[in-house]
Symmetry: C2
């Protein structure tokens, strides 16, 4: 039962082919979300943490965009293979994965 200790939102927004903004769906949004679900289940974190699909979070140029609440950490250019590091280092360990942070989310001290 919510509230969740960490609530991860992965943009899976799809725009028409050729749209100038691009979209997270064509960059692998669904794959990233599936990988989050898989990694959370693997660690027995289902129920405590959740990975949700989200519509466009307005950071298209940084896609695949991932935002982690309640701390409000924004990751960009996330690939499925980045997910285990985010889960282990940040969601479990409390240290955001600096190399994947969006520029405006860098340098913040978080739990």
């Amino acid at each position: 039962m919510p509230p969740f200790q960490r609530h991860v939102f992965v943009c899976t927004n799809r725009r028409p082919d050729g749209h100038p903004k691009g979209c997270c769906a064509t960059k692998g949004g669904e794959e990233v979300r599936a990988r989050f679900k898989e990694e959370l289940e693997k660690r027995g974190l289902k129920g405590q943490m959740r990975a949700n699909a989200a519509g466009c979070v307005d950071t298209c140029s940084f896609g695949v965009s991932v935002v982690v609440y309640p701390e409000g950490t924004w990751y960009g250019g996330v690939k499925p293979e980045d997910v285990p590091a985010i889960v282990d280092e940040h969601l479990v360990g409390g240290r955001p994965v600096e190399r994947l942070l969006m520029p405006f989310s860098r340098g913040k001290t978080q739990e």
Copy 2:
């Protein structure tokens, strides 16, 4: 540019007709989200706050489910006509709308 002062996620998950859990889509999830967007725009809050569609947030019996971050406030049974109160009293005013809170989100002191 994110981060947003308030980030609202509205469940718009759709399940097949007759699914025992029901879903937020048939209860009006899309209409609730559209109303949030409209009310935020009307108040000139676009860019500072955002209303996103989300997949199933695991509170199906309370749908339409709405969660507001960073504070992690959970609203249930939200109807489009409830949205102006959430925007004015909570998102702008900082006082959650008690009557719409999910049980586990009640009685918390928030900003």
